[in-house]
């Protein structure tokens, strides 16, 4: 194919896992040159064609070979089998600022790092202001980089790398750098890049952003490409698959309170009445709290909150707003909150639960991240974000039949 930016043809990459390694002349002489090792194929029979101008994602678990493949494409590793060819200038964002010399100033390092990435001095001089401006480090540009904070270091590294203006950009999980305003700048630059028709290859665990950004996705498992295709299908399947193997842990939970009332247990109950940690999108879910009051308490309030795995506060509700406040409680019991439709997109979420006083100021028991639960697909697919609003397309005007150039489907 002529329009492929990168052609990966039956590539295999073998690593040696050494049992006894002759990493010294002494050892090599003593063992007469025999190092014992096992071959480990990090990649095998991988063939891909990445079209020019597309954004291509590589997903897979840790150790699936996706980073190895990216390094092979970047020419850092040399494949043992097969071949990789690419068209145009390539830049890899593998680790930012890796070529910086601590004693040299930011200015000197921009020129040094830029030339390692293949930029000429004149191009760098022309882009210098843009690079410094993008990193937001005008003030510190003549300071040795050893005095930079780690955030500044990474910002400068990203700024140099992204301004290399390559035809092919390889990205390994480095888009989440710096503070949130810098991250937004990065994503904008990135979008600009894609609009300009450049080819991008991304490796990531973050399935949400992969779904939004990629045109095509390949799923790697144990060094083999198991599937390639549209990001929606593959990322969803990947997400569902990775939930299966997750080990349940509530280690992330924290708890505090004065202790007059205690949350003994939390349960999530599905539409069929079973206690579960996994629900379909849109399913009816009941949140049940088992409480214990060690002394009579007037007008206690129960509250819940849901956060996404990355810490975004999505929802909260307490029984005072729900106008469900008993006059007084004592001893053991349960209380239910019914959510008729779990309007969350597929993903993993944390539930926080609390018992507080009627003024909502004193906490008897506050249990952060008491439960973790998963939401799975249920037919209707929405494209991104956290909430599922059950959107439906329709009412195309003028009607499809009258516009022969428009194809739906």
């Amino acid at each position: 194919m002529t329009d492929a930016a990168i052609t990966v043809d039956d590539v295999g990459k073998r690593f040696r896992i050494y049992h006894e390694r002759n990493q010294s002349v002494k050892a090599a002489v003593m063992r007469r040159g025999r190092a014992t090792y096992e071959d480990f194929w990090a990649l095998r029979n991988v063939s891909l064609e990445i079209p020019t101008g597309s954004t291509f994602g590589l997903i897979g678990k840790n150790g699936s070979g996706k980073s190895t493949l990216l390094k092979c494409i970047a020419k850092i590793l040399r494949p043992d089998e097969g071949s990789i060819s690419s068209v145009g200038k390539m830049a890899a964002l593998l680790e930012l600022g890796s070529g910086f010399h601590p004693e040299l100033s930011g200015r000197e390092n921009i020129f040094l790092n830029g030339s390692i990435l293949g930029l000429s001095k004149s191009t760098l001089a022309a882009k210098f202001d843009e690079i410094v401006d993008f990193a937001g480090l005008e003030q510190f540009i003549d300071t040795p980089v050893k005095n930079y904070s780690s955030g500044m270091y990474v910002k400068l590294g990203f700024s140099v790398a992204i301004n290399v203006d390559p035809d092919v950009l390889l990205v390994d999980e480095v888009l989440a750098v710096g503070d949130s305003s810098f991250q937004r700048k990065c994503l904008e630059k990135f979008a600009e890049f894609r609009r300009a028709g450049k080819t991008v290859v991304i490796v990531s665990h973050d399935s949400g952003s992969m779904k939004n950004m990629c045109d095509e996705v390949a799923w790697l498992e144990k060094g083999v490409v198991t599937r390639t295709g549209s990001p929606v299908d593959i990322v969803e399947e990947y997400e569902d698959d990775s939930h299966e193997e997750r080990i349940e842990s509530t280690d992330g939970s924290t708890r505090w309170g004065s202790g007059e009332a205690i949350i003994e247990k939390m349960e999530l109950i599905g539409a069929d009445g079973t206690v579960r940690n996994r629900f379909r999108c849109g399913e009816q879910v009941t949140i049940r709290m088992h409480y214990r009051f060690d002394q009579p308490i007037d007008k206690p309030v129960f509250g819940y909150a849901i956060e996404s795995l990355d810490g975004v506060y999505l929802w909260a509700h307490h029984s005072k707003h729900g106008q469900y406040v008993p006059d007084q409680l004592d001893g053991r019991g349960t209380v239910d909150l019914v959510l008729p439709r779990l309007a969350l997109q597929p993903g993993t979420f944390d539930l926080t639960s609390s018992i507080v006083d009627n003024q909502l100021t004193h906490q008897y028991d506050f249990w952060k991240h008491v439960l973790r639960f998963d939401v799975e697909h249920a037919g209707h697919v929405e494209s991104g974000g956290y909430v599922s609003l059950n959107g439906r397309w329709g009412n195309l005007q003028p009607a499809a039949g009258q516009m022969p150039t428009l194809h739906l489907g």
Partner: protein, 274 residues
């Protein structure tokens, strides 16, 4: 030739990396670049005291110039030796010291080795200028010999580059090689007429090792020829013999080719072996 075109494509990188070596080395120190001169000066003072004053090594008289200064005679050889010695010690570590770069970015790997050697050559250049000024006080007009000195520096650079290329890549696979090399360098230092005139060895040419005159064996050492050729130009102000030149050309190109081939053969797996 692909080798040449690749190198010319990365010449700016090479220049930048060389600058990094030079700038980074003495940055933050009070004397800065002064250190690069202070080191050979200190060695010169110590060696002059020990070998000229205490041990009474005979001071060679410049053949055509009549110059008779042990310190200057010593420096003519010492600076050459320093490039060989420092080039090997710094060159051998040039890949292992930059492992973070090799594992994260693709660029022609030999530029790391070359820039290390080139930075030392630049330092040698400065030292030679200072030495020339000192020689001028004693009437040696070194400027006239500049073309030949430059040619010798070029050959020396090729020689050291070849050694550094092969050693740097070998050091990735065998990390204790640097220690072996430092032992080897000590032996090599005394086998080269840096602190004593070669005439002392020539005087004993009747001594034989395995049926060959020790003087013949002694002259095989390429460092011997380099040191003698530099002294010819700088101290004695005479043109080194054609034989000497031919010998150096063969050694320089031979070492460079062997070093380059070894480097190419093993550079592919650098990122995973580091």
């Amino acid at each position: 030739m692909s080798v040449v075109s690749e190198l010319s494509a990365s010449r700016e990188l090479l220049a930048n990396l060389t600058q990094r070596e030079l700038k980074g080395k003495y940055k933050g120190s009070v004397l800065g670049w002064g250190w690069s001169l202070l080191n050979p000066l200190a060695t010169m003072v110590v060696f002059s005291f020990v070998f000229s004053f205490v041990l009474r090594v005979p001071v060679t008289v410049g053949e055509r110039t009549g110059i008779k200064v042990f310190a200057l005679w010593l420096l003519c050889g010492l600076l050459v030796w320093n490039l060989i010695s420092n080039g090997m010690t710094a060159g051998i570590a040039s890949l292992t010291a930059n492992d973070n770069l090799i594992k994260k970015v693709w660029f022609p790997r030999e530029t790391l080795v070359l820039s290390t050697v080139f930075a030392l050559v630049v330092t040698l250049g400065i030292e030679l200028v200072v030495l020339s000024v000192a020689l001028a006080f004693y009437g040696n007009v070194v400027l006239l010999w500049l073309p030949i000195v430059l040619l010798l520096v070029l050959l020396l650079t090729l020689f050291v580059t070849g050694l550094a290329l092969a050693l740097s890549v070998a050091n990735v696979y065998f990390r204790d090689l640097q220690y072996l090399v430092s032992i080897g360098l000590q032996i090599w230092f005394y086998a080269t007429p840096v602190i004593y005139p070669s005439s002392l060895v020539k005087a004993q040419q009747a001594t034989q090792v395995l049926g060959v005159s020790i003087w013949t064996l002694y002259q095989l050492n390429p460092a011997f020829t380099f040191v003698e050729a530099f002294r010819d130009c700088l101290y004695d102000e005479r043109v080194p013999s054609v034989g000497r030149f031919a010998y150096l050309v063969v050694w320089s190109l031979g070492t460079l080719v062997v070093g380059y081939v070894v480097f190419r053969r093993y550079e592919g797996r650098l990122a995973e072996e580091l």
